[in-house]
């Protein structure tokens, strides 16, 4: 009877912890999802304090200049090694979202905005690659890229396909795809994963 109670308690604990994480509450050292329309971005407050110039440029000019984004971009590129890793990641995702909204709203794509979003895609990919020792941060980078892919208005950008050739893709689509491909598995699962990849030639999800 005791083992049943233990198993039930363990299961309930994991489910509650999962539900709490899924609800997107404010946690220190975690990615802060950009706010839904009408929602107050409470968890972005520390990020706004750390990168005031970036948020100010977004609010005042509707764009971020090189100077306002330089420090933020350097911190994102450093990955988990940066002291402000999560704040930088959350700020970049918010900026990406705002710029995507502008790009989608204007009839002609602003080449500067497109170039910036393409550079930020590369930054997200390098932040993931630069943090092999920190699975939690890697998960956060994927969460941010996935969040943008799902919720930000799609903006057509240049990216690379599996063979390194240039293709068109929407927002962070290629970043998520590359992260998922980079996730290494070990043991039987790893061997099976690579076998499947070999059979399907890793081309199960071609870039558009």
């Amino acid at each position: 009877m005791r083992s049943r109670a233990c198993a039930g308690g363990l299961l309930a604990g994991v489910l509650l912890a999962s539900a709490a994480q899924g609800a997107g509450e404010i946690r220190p050292g975690a990615y802060c999802p950009f706010p839904k329309p009408g929602e107050k971005p409470a968890c972005l407050v520390p990020a706004k304090q750390a990168y005031g110039e970036f948020f100010a440029a977004l609010d005042e000019n509707g764009d971020v200049g090189e100077a306002a984004s330089a420090r933020l971009e350097a911190d994102v590129a450093a990955g988990a090694g940066s002291q402000n890793a999560y704040l930088a990641l959350s700020s970049l995702a918010y900026g990406y979202y705002r710029l995507s909204q502008q790009a989608a709203a204007s009839p002609n794509e602003d080449p500067q905005v497109v170039a910036r979003l393409e550079r930020w895609n590369a930054l997200l990919a390098s932040a993931y690659a630069a943090s092999p020792q920190d699975a939690k941060f890697q998960d956060s980078v994927r969460e941010a890229a996935l969040d943008l892919q799902r919720r930000a208005p799609p903006v057509e950008l240049s990216c690379l396909d599996e063979s390194g050739g240039p293709v068109r893709c929407d927002s962070t689509e290629a970043v998520v795809r590359d992260i998922d491909r980079l996730r290494d598995e070990v043991g039987v699962r790893g061997a099976l994963s690579r076998l499947l990849g070999r059979f399907f030639d890793d081309g199960a999800e071609p870039a558009r």
């Binding site: 994991v14 912890a17 899924g22 998922d180 039987v188 994963s193 076998l195 499947l196 070999r198």
Partner: protein
Amino acid sequence: MSRFLPRRMLRAALLESALYEEVEAERRSLGQAFVVVLLASSAGALGAWLGAYPPLRIALEAIEPIVFWLGASLFAYMAGATFFRGPHTQTDYAEVLRTTGFAFTPGLLRVLGGLPAIDVAGLHLPPTLLSDAWVVLASIVAVRQALDFSTLRAIATFGVAYLLLWLLLAGALFSLPV
């Protein structure tokens, strides 16, 4: 002795030795064991789909339990009935399949695979860790009951079966043309 599948799955998840003995002796329960493995496969695939993983990962989640069930059970049978056999060991492959199939019941929790990883005591744990560990424990009980020997031999048999399955798959990978 109820043949009601959900009831049996609950008993299998609670690691009831009597359930594994029951299905070991009942030849027609192989179909039920297969259904349990299919449910675990579907749960894993659904979890990966909900987590917006690419099709290859969804396929991996769907195929992995079936490969594990058929492959690891075969190697567990081979190792358990020869190197690790005990004085009471008398079994066949189908018996091992019947018991290990039910051991995949906790695999239904693989549907949580789409959730973010969980932080517990400073560790960053994948959401499927609980179900995977639970399936391993249930598999050890299943192997022990199918091969009628000690828990220690069951753990050794499970370890060897895992290693042999990994070698088989790694060998297959190595032998495929690039």
